[in-house]
Structures are given as structure tokens and as C-alpha cells.
């Protein structure tokens, strides 16, 4: 299926290659690099490229291109999903996914890739299984390894791959048994000039961090599961029980994982936590414009809105800007024309405001369209959909675990048109 993988940095340098079948010359990447040259942004490179002898399927993530070479028909999503798993695996092992990290751990990344595919077909993609075969580096371990000459390659016989619960390691032991769940909701919204909601929905995800000994069997139930419109689960969740009783019943993987994602789609139900008053105008004559943006809290359910940030892609014809913020600070990159206003906490008594003048390049026409504003925000201890975890029960083990649930609401793709 997947013949080869190339990791390419934004400047077009190939810094890692791995082949699972016959070696494919790296010159095949030229077709890709050509397409990359043509694209304005790295995001615009087409994910599937058809060359005379090969098909190139690539993803762009964390400022890196993961390019796979395919020779025969294969579902493109199969490859794309796998490439993202590779990126996640690197992130999971080394804390971040970047060129430096991959270069620093070249051999380990290579070994991991070797285990992930056999003849181009995924073999071990579960983090728990991989970690049993190749242990992730820690500072302590790397010191020990240098001193003793031992290695990170597991010498125990792994059981995960053979078990019917491949996502969980066997023989897990903790002195403190804990299970934490984060209910994170993101509001995707488009607001028009007048502040009317054009489109809004809530995307939620339940992230779990479970450190429990043995083989715990957990059941998580919600107060109001009917809110959830569409769900997807980690393979550990028993779908039938969800269907019949609307509870999540599962034997969890060890460590961090995404338990479920969900979708809340009733438009009128979506509370928009902030409002934005804005006016961006360019004068017909002369090369001047004005910008005036105010952000205020709207439906916040009595919680404080934090981490508010406004990002604007200003038109290419802007020469310079001169703005004053009553709260927070703004940065402006004249190369990318990116204006970022970092507000922080919203204070309902004193609304933050950013205003000032924009000047256009001499002779440039007045921009056709005003740039839209992308809003970032965070509300602690609130799931904006109103979803609430009812209880968590554990079966199968005797100890009493420590349990915790946290709610966060964030802005997802939250856009205000101007």
C-alpha cells in the first residue's frame, strides 16, 4: 500500500526517508516540490498528486510535509489517516513534532516507522503497543543508557499486539490510581457584520488521562446525553451499550487518549459567549483607513472569558498601521500582514478596545473586502452545550481510584465577517 515516506521541511529539504517495499528514488519528490512552489501557502499544496508512475499523498502538519509514495489503488484517506498517526506518534514520543526533534531522534523514529508498517500495511499503530516495543526517551533513561549501554528497545515479549485489547498494556501498576477526564468544547461560528449568527455549532471532545492499575472496566455516564448529536469513539468504547443505554463503557488504554468526540448541532442552542463591535473602513480618496474593534462578553453563564485573542489578516496593500489597545497588546507582522491582538481576560466593566489608523501603499486601490476577524477565547469550568458528566464507575479492580472531570470551552473556527 504505502511504498515510501519522505519527511520534507518547508524549504523543500528531504531530511528523512523510509521505504517499506523496493526503494523509490527521492527524485519522485520533485513533482511534489514543483506543486509546492506553485502554491501560495503550504496549506494549498494539493494532498494528492498524480505523477506518471506514482501517486503522491501528502499532509502538511506542524510545519512539516509528510509525503507518501503510492503505486497502486488505495483509499486516500487510509494513507492520510496513517500519516497523521505518524505525526501524532512523534508528538507522543518526543513531546513535539518538528524537524529538530526528528533529526535528534532519527534512529528511533526510523525504528518506529519500521514497526508501524509491514510491506506498506499498518502493523502496530497503537501507542500502547509501540511503547512496549520501543520505549520513549526520558532524561533519566538517556543518562542511564549512556552510562550502562542499555537501550530503549524493549526486551520483554510484548503482549499488546497479541491481545484482543491491543490498546492496553498488560501489567500496568500505579501507586496512585487516577482517572481524569477533560470535556473540551469548541464553538465553530461565523458571525456577519451585524453580529447575527450565520452558522454555529459545538464540537466537543472528551480527553482522558487514565492511570489505573490492572484491567479496570470503566463506565462514564452523562446527565444529559441526548444533547449529543453525533459521536465517534475510541475503539475501546462499547458501541452497543452506548446505543442502548447512552453510557460509555470501556477498558481504557493506559495514559492519555481521546475517548470520544461529539457534535452539538442545534443552532439556536449555541450560546455565543462574546460579541464583537467592529468597524474597518478605508477612505475612498487618499490612502488611509480606520480600524476600531471592541470585544465584550455576551452569554457567558456567569463565567469569566479568558485568553481572548483577535487575529486579522490585513489586506496585502496595507503599508503600515498605528493602533492603540486599551487592554492587552497587539503585534503586527508587516511581511505576512498578520495582526494579533492578545487581550487576555474580559472585564465586563471595562471593555477592551483597539483603534487607530491604517495606511495603504501609495496608489493602491481601496481594498474590496474588509478582512474577517478570527477570535480565540477560553472559558474554564464550563461546557457551553451544558453537557455534564454524571458519574464514573469502575469495575474489575478493587482499589478506589481518584477521579476528576474538568470542563473547558474554547473558540474553534470562530470568525466574524466585516
Amino acid at each position: 500500500m504505502i511504498n515510501s515516506l519522505f519527511l520534507i521541511n518547508p524549504s523543500g529539504e528531504i531530511f528523512l526517508e523510509k521505504h517499506w517495499k523496493s526503494v523509490v528514488s527521492r527524485s519522485v519528490c520533485d513533482y511534489f516540490l514543483e506543486a509546492k512552489e506553485k502554491a501560495l501557502e503550504p496549506e494549498d499544496v494539493p494532498p494528492v498528486i498524480h505523477t506518471p508512475h506514482h501517486y503522491l499523498i501528502s499532509i502538511y502538519r506542524d510545519k512539516l510535509f509528510f509525503l507518501s509514495v503510492i503505486q497502486t489503488e488505495v483509499p486516500p484517506l487510509f494513507v492520510i489517516e496513517f500519516l497523521h498517526r505518524v505525526a501524532e506518534m512523534i508528538q507522543d514520543y518526543f513531546g513535539e513534532c518538528s524537524e529538530t526533534v526528528v533529526k535528534d531522534h532519527m534512529v528511533m523514529v526510523y525504528e518506529l516507522l519500521e514497526e508501524m508498517l509491514d510491506n506498506g500495511f499498518p502493523l502496530a499503530t497503537e501507542s500502547n503497543v509501540l511503547k512496549e516495543m520501543i520505549r520513549p526517551p526520558t532524561i533519566l533513561r538517556s543518562v542511564v543508557n549512556t552510562l550502562t549501554g542499555t537501550s530503549n528497545v524493549g526486551d520483554t515479549l510484548l503482549t499488546g499486539q497479541l491481545s484482543t485489547i491491543p490498546w492496553r498494556r498488560a501489567g500496568v501498576r500505579y501507586t496512585n490510581n487516577e482517572a481524569y477526564f477533560d470535556v473540551v468544547e469548541e464553538i465553530d461560528a461565523i458571525l456577519d457584520q451585524s453580529g447575527t449568527t450565520v452558522f454555529a455549532e459545538i464540537q466537543g471532545v472528551v480527553e482522558a488521562c487514565v492511570k489505573l492499575s490492572g484491567m479496570p472496566d470503566l463506565t462514564l455516564s452523562f446527565m444529559n446525553p441526548r444533547l449529543l448529536d453525533d459521536v465517534s469513539f475510541h475503539p475501546c468504547v462499547r458501541y452497543k451499550l452506548w446505543e442502548s443505554e447512552r453510557v460509555l463503557s470501556f477498558i481504557p488504554p493506559d495514559g492519555n487518549f481521546t475517548l470520544m468526540t461529539y457534535h452539538v448541532n442545534a443552532q439556536n442552542l449555541v450560546a455565543i459567549p462574546v460579541y464583537v463591535k467592529q468597524s474597518i473602513s478605508f477612505f475612498e480618496c487618499g490612502s488611509d483607513g480606520r480600524l476600531d474593534v471592541t470585544v465584550g462578553p455576551k452569554q457567558t453563564m456567569g463565567k469569566t472569558v479568558e485568553g481572548v485573542m483577535v487575529t486579522v489578516h490585513l489586506p496585502k496593500t496595507i503599508l503600515s498601521i498605528n493602533l492603540t489597545a486599551t487592554q492587552g497588546s497587539y503585534t503586527y507582522d508587516n511581511g505576512t500582514k498578520l495582526l494579533v491582538w492578545d487581550i487576555g481576560k474580559l472585564n465586563p466593566q471595562k471593555l477592551p478596545n483597539l483603534r487607530g489608523s491604517l495606511s495603504l501603499q501609495a496608489g493602491a486601490p481601496k481594498p474590496e473586502e474588509n478582512p474577517s476577524l478570527n477570535i480565540d477565547l477560553k472559558i474554564q469550568q464550563l461546557a457551553i452545550s451544558g453537557l455534564k458528566v454524571n458519574r464514573l464507575d469502575m469495575f474489575g479492580e478493587k482499589y478506589k481510584p481518584f477521579k476528576g472531570v474538568k470542563y473547558i470551552t474554547k473558540a474553534g473556527k470562530f470568525q466574524v465577517r466585516t
Binding site: K18, H50, G154
Partner: protein, 1036 residues
Amino acid sequence: SLPNSLCIVHFLISFSPSRNEDLKEMLESNKESLKLEAMKRVVGLIAKGKNASELFPAVVKNVASKNIELKKLVYVYLVRYAEEQQDLALLSISTFQRALKDPNQLIRASALRVLSSIRVPIIVPIMMLAIKEAASDMSPYVRKTSAHAIQKLYSLDQDQKELLIEVIEKLLKDKSTLVAGSVVMAFEEVCPDRIDLIHKNYRKLCNLLVDVEEWGQVVIISMLTRYARTQFTSPWKEDGVFDEHNERAFYESDEEKTRDETEAKPYMMDPDHRLLLRNTKPLLQSRNTAVVMSVAQLYWHLAPKNEVSIVTKSLVRLLRSHREVQYIVLQNIATMSIQRKGMFEPYMKSFYVRSTDATHIKSLKLEILTSLANEANISTILREFQTYVKSQDKQFAAGTIQAIGRCATNISEVTDTCLNGLVLLLSNRDETVVAESVVVIRKLLQIQPTQHSDIIKHMAKLFDNITVPMARASILWLMGEYCERVPKIAPDVLRKMAKSFTSEEDIVKLQTVNLAAKLYLTNSKQTKLLTQYILNLGKYDQNYDIRDRTRFIRQLIVPNDKNGALSKYAHRILLAPKPAPVLESAYKDRDRYQLGTLSHTINTKASGYLELSDWPAVAPDQSVRNVEVIEPVKEWAPSLGKTVKSKPAKSSDDKFYSDSGEEEEKGSGSSSSEDGSSSSSSEGVLHILQNERVCPESGSDAESHVQKNSSQTSEESDKSSSQSEKSSSESDSEKKERKTKTPLQKKTSWTYVTKQQHTKTIFVNVINQHSVLQTFSYSHWSTLCVSLFTQLCPLSLAFPLQLSGPAFVPEKSHDLLHRMTGKGLSAQYQFPRQPCLYQPTMVSVQISLTNTTDHPLEQIHIGDRSPTGLNIHCFNTIECLEPEASVTVFMGIDFNDSTQAANFQLCTKEDHFSVSIQPAIGELLLPITMTELDFRKEQGKLLGMNESSATITMAAENMTSQPISRPVATVANLGMVPSSQDNVHRFAGKTANSGAVVLVTVELRGESTALITINTEKSVMGSMLLRDLKLALAQA
């Protein structure tokens, strides 16, 4: 000076041209750490794409290294360069051949994996043999690896196809979820046309599907989609005749089904067709986007029209995923939305474009919005489009204008509105926008030109300001086509063009020539000279298309004497009424490719694309999918299930199954098909039936590999391997079992706390009926059992001895027959610590036989034994052992709970060798699990004479639990008992022959002393065990 010299070394290594020499030296040194360091650097070179092939001889020497990491790195190297260095690569082959016989399944699997990745044609026969053997391996993991190897061998040598198909056929019958995805992948690559191989496995694959790993699911679903299109009739003729009644048919007898079929005048869905749809549906909730997409395409291609829309929500959900995922999903939605607007219309707003979307995402969303437009929503969509037209991304704005054009043609109510809107755009400041508007207006006008001469005039006025060639050409064409409507303007435009002709683009020149010709025909008085001037310019143009066209036009409109025949028709040729262009989606007819495929994405047939056939008019024989149902195995779980269902202690099995059938039909929907967990439990549970009930099903099982040789005693120590082994040897009753287990599980998990009293009886029941020993396993089910069990203990039940898997299996093997005394036959034995399958009172022994002679040894078997009463289960006679070959076999020996050696003769055709096996006392035990409470209770019964103890001194750093349990487990095959005190460790086991309980307590008493206590009624064994433990722990 040390750092200094290091620097120099580093310098040499990284820059000197002879750095590979250094690596070579390091590889050839005898220090493991140097070798490892060197291999890491070599692999680093490979990863960077640098050539390291010259190191091959130095690297290949390390292929048999004991260091696992080093060995792995050597494998990586070998696979990468074997193709280039074929002769040298052959040196490593024998290592792998040896490893293929290793008792450890993981070593066998990795050997096969590497061996089959070495692309050296000379070893094809060896690979073929290895694949065949691995395909009947006991371990499903090895069988999975063999399925992967099939594809590798096939790509190396296509002549092996027929032999490989045989292996595929065998593996397709495999019941392990581990194997299913991989073998279907092999099937798709090697023999996708052999649909006949699928028939008998179809239902099994459908039922396994939810439990297969996600990547395998994608492959299986795609294959089943193709299969279904060849086997079932189209559900699309009439909708809605299927109902729940139909589902039941599947579980009824075959005759009934066929009768149903013949009677069915209106469309009746084949139950197998329904089975597939039903079993794939839950996978729409998968986190893997590829799985969701593959289910969506399956529904698109196979489901009745009114059921397809259940996939909508899931596809829309995928739009939240990564950009690349969005791209593929949007493409597929684009294709779907052309045929089935209704599916996605409710989710229209999910396709609204954001300014942050990538270009290709934007245009796909536009495409879909256009397809979704209808009379009801067009005003909303047009309002949205207005925002897009103003976008800073001009390419996208242009795309929007085309989209508006398409809406205008598709929905006649808004044609005028759109046209007016587009005309307004003609005054836009951006050239691309204007040009695109012109082109689209041109197309719209062509559809209804009569009312719009003022628009044409307006465009003529704009002509001077428009520079984009396509737009200019479009205006010129409009002028020419409708010159009679703008009689005054057209000649003037021609005049301007005559002036600028030479500096125009080719496409504009062609249209100028066109315009000139048309005007000449309609208004020759004003334009004759202009036309001739333009034709003259065209005659000497650099572009031959223009010269060509000019020549043609001249002949057509200004005839000379010789060939005026055509010019009579010039008017009719040039000014013929032309059909209006159809503005349609680029995604129209894309569904000639199976959705979700690469071919669909690139809109051309990718190599290896498998065509989806049309539905057959008449369904092929459906009985081909029938599988003989083997009598369900009598197991404890179903009957437990039944007891829970409130009718305790009824044990007639057939009655029971019909019960469960009823329950099925009454349809607690959840019981009919299973979710991930319930089935994993049915596989995960290892039931070992005690004593006289020696696994009845393994006897009745048709699977040859279990019976073929005496390797039945799982040659693998690993607990989980034996679990899955068990599951694969479970007969066809699997499905039925699951059916019944599911409701049971559900109930148990929710009720056991409140119904303790009730469950108690159940448990007693189970124990009485089947004397089941159940191991601790990783499954949901067993953990429930254990928790039940621990809860019940206070109720003073006679608890069963629960066998557990070994805590630790020592790798140590002992010499049975040295090759010198054995005239070249050498034998070693070790204790795999698995319960013996032949007889529970036996201890299983694993024997590896190697032929070190240069001739084959024939008929290796076991001869006379002493003491004569010794009860041995022999391995089957080995007919022939080739030189250099080795074989691993299993035998069972009843040591009668004593360490007295078992003496017997190992015979070949010519010779007899007396050998003996003397077991350590610890090997005569089998581990059991119990709670701490039970342990204490048992211990209380075994005091005085039955107790032996000793105090020993041990090193302080070894006083934590890990180092204690390890040496104990090494010495004796005991199970750990959970302990509430940190300093007390408890272990429990029972003797193999008499089943007497053996309890070991190790109590750490600070100051590096420990008290070992052993309680057992077999006091001789107790004291021997104590001696061994003292020795081991004092060392530790």
C-alpha cells in the same frame, strides 16, 4: 585532553572520507556497545538517504546477535540493501530459518517478516515454504505475518500465484480477527477475481468485522462492497419492502430461506446483504476517518436509496478533521450531492467557506453549495456567495462567479437576478473578477439572448478596459453572434480590433477573425474593408492556427471562381443557432469510480483499481455462502448467561439455544450483533476445563493444525497467545455464543451489586456443572468474573481453584541428548509452564531436536520408558529431519508429583538413546489465583506438619516486590496473590498430579532478613521447594 580527543574522533567520523572505515571497525569489534553505536549511525545514514551499502559484509555478521536492539537494526539494514547485495544477503538466511522454528511466536513472526522482505529471487522456494508453514502456525500473530509475506512474495515472483492462492484460501478460513484484515489485503493483491474463495467466509467476515483492527476494516469493507455487487440483486428498483421480518430469515433454516426467495415477487433483500449493511453501520462511529469513509461508500453503493442518508452525519463530522481529510471527504460529498441533494441539504451551512480554508477546500465547498442549491435555498446561497465574491482570494472569487452562473442556469427563477448581479460585477476593480463575469455572462446570454441586448451593449462599452484575453475573446464572440442586435456597435468594435490586432493574444485574434467574418456576412457594406484588412493580417500571423483559420474564412466568405460551392452556405455555417452551453459540475459522473478510492480522487483509473461491477439481474446461487454449522461447544458461559436470565439451573442445551433465539427475535437490538468488547471477551477468556473434561472442542475441531502434530500444548508461554489461540480454535459456534453472552454481560455488569444473592447461586451452578477453571485474562468478561468472584468470597463458598497463566517462563533449556552421544542428533528440553492439554495431571515439556549430521534422520520417536508405569504422552513420530534442520515438539509427562527422573528412549530409525528428564520441584506446580482472604483461609487449614519455614538473609536493595516475585517465579511456577501489606508477598499454586494447594509466603522483616513459609499437604515437596527458594532468594 579527553574532550579534545573526543572532538577529534568526532571530526574524523563526520568529515573524513574514510568514515565508513571507522564504522566497519566498530562493527567488527567485539564490544556490543560499539557495534550498537555503529549500527545506529548506519541506520541514521539510511534514514537520511545516504548510501551505506559498502558496509554490508560487516553488518551481516551481526545478524545473529543476542542484543535485541542491535539485531533489529541489522534487520533494518538487511532489508534495505539485500536487493543490491544478493550473494552476501544469502549468508543471513540460515539465521532466519532457524528463528522460524523458535518456540517464541514473536521471534518466529519477526524472522518471517524479515525473511520475506529480502527481495532476493533465489530464496523464493525458502520463502514459499516458510509462508506455508507459518500459515498453519498456532499463533495468530505468526499467521498474520504470513499473510503479509504472501504479498511480498507475490511481488517478487508472480509465478508463485497458484501456490499462494492456496495459502490465501487456507488463511481466509482463519477465525482470528488478527488475521482477517491482512489476508483480505493479500487476497486483494494476489487474486481479487477469485470471488469464489469469499463465499464460505462471507458471513464470518461480516461478523468479525467490528473486532478487526481499524486498518483491516477498511480493506475488508472495500472487498465486501465489490463482492456484494456481484452476488446480490439491486435494492434500488423498489424501495421499502425490507423490514424486521426479513432480518429473522437469516437465522432460520436454509430451506425456508430459499423458499422465501422464490416466492418473493417484490424485491426482497438477501439476508446476507442485510447482514453486511447491519454489521458495518456501527463503524460509522469509528475514530478512524478511513473506516467511516469506507462504510459511507459501502452504503452508497449497496444500500437501498432511503437508507443511504444515515451516513450523512458521519461524513459531515469528518469535515472537522485535518485539512487533507476534509479534501477527500468533500470530493466524495461533491460526487454524492449531485445525485442526492437531499442527503446534504440539511447540513448546507457546514459547507460555508471560511477565509482560513485552503484554496482547494474552498473550491470544493463552492462546488457542493452549488449542487445543493434549489428554489428554496437559493436566496440564502446567493447571499453567501456575495460575501465570497468580495474575497481577497481572487481565484476563489472567480470560482464563485462560475458557481453563480451554474445556479443561474439550473434554477430559472433566479437567472435574471444572477445576471444583474454579474453585470454589477463588471465594474469591479479586480480584473480576474471582471473577466470571469464576462465569461459567465456570455454563457448565460447564450441561453436566453433575446432580452439582453442592453447587457451586450454594456459589455461593449467595457471592452476597452478589459485586458484578460478570455474575457475579450468572449465579448468579441458575443458581438459576432448577436451582431444583428447591436448593429451600430459591432462594426466599431471591429474597427478597434483591426488597430490592435497584432498585439492581441491568439485566442482574441481568432475571435476577431470570427467577428469579422460574421459582420461581413451581415453588414458587408460597412465592414468589407476592415474584414479584408484583418484577414490579411491573419494570413501572415506567426501562429499557424490563425493562418489556417484565416485561409478557411477567406475561402468561405469571399469566394473566388473555382470553389464557391461552400460559400453559398457561409451564412448558415457561421451564424447557425448554437446550443447553449451546459454549465455542469466537474464531479458529474465521478461515481463511475467507487467512492473513497484514489481513482475517484484523481478522476482517472489508478493502477490496480478494481472495477465495481453492475448488479446482476438475477442473484447467483446464495447457498454458496452456507457454512455447515458445527455443534456449538458446551461451555459454561452460555449457561451462566441463562441463569442470569432468571431461570436457574436448567441445563438442556438445545432448549437453551432456542431460548436465546427467542430473545434474539424479541430483539433487544443490542444482543443481535456484538460490539467490540463483548467479542473481545469471548476471545479473551481462556477456559481450561479440568481433569476428565479435556477440551472437548479441540477434539471435535476440524482445524488441522491443532491435531496435526503434538504441538498442541501451546508452545508459547505467553498468556495472551494462548487466549487467542483458543479463540481461533473455537468452533463455528462463536457467533451463537456471542449472541448469548452479550445480554448476559450487560446484565451482570449492571446488576451484580444488588443481586449478590442471586449471583451466588449462579456461581455455584457454574462450578458444579462444569468444574471450570478460568484463568485471569485481560478481558472484560473475566475481569467481571473476578470481581464477582472476589465479592462472593466472603459468603464462604467453596471457591474453585482458578488456574492462571504463568507469571514468568524461564528461557533456560536443559540438555536432553548431547550431539556427541546422540550421533549427531541433539535434543534439548525446557518447561513452557503451560497446562498440559493431553492430560491435566501431566507437565508439558517442550523438546527441540536438531540434526547436526550431514544426512537426514528418520523416524524419530520415543521408545521404552522407565519406570514402566510412567505415563507419557509422546510426540508423533518425526518421519524425517533434514541435516541442519531442527524441530520443536511437545510432550506431556506425569511426574506423579515427584522429582524422580522420567527415563525413556529417544529413538531414530537406527539408534536408541537413553535419556532422562529430571524436573525441578517448581515445574511440577501450576499457578492459581486467589484472593488474599482465601489464601489466609487455606493457609489456616495447612498448619503444623504441613508448614515449613526458614529465615534467610538477603540484600537490602532487593527488598521491593519486583525482585522478590521474579526469583520466586523463576524457581517455581506459582501465581501471585494480591497482598495488602507491602512487605508480605504471597504466591499460590497447585501440584500438577494431585492438585494439592501449595502456598508460599515471603515476609520481609527489615534488616535484610526474610521469612519464607510454605504450606502444603505434600510436605516433602514443601521442603524441597523451600530449599530451592532459599537458594534463589539468598542469591537475589
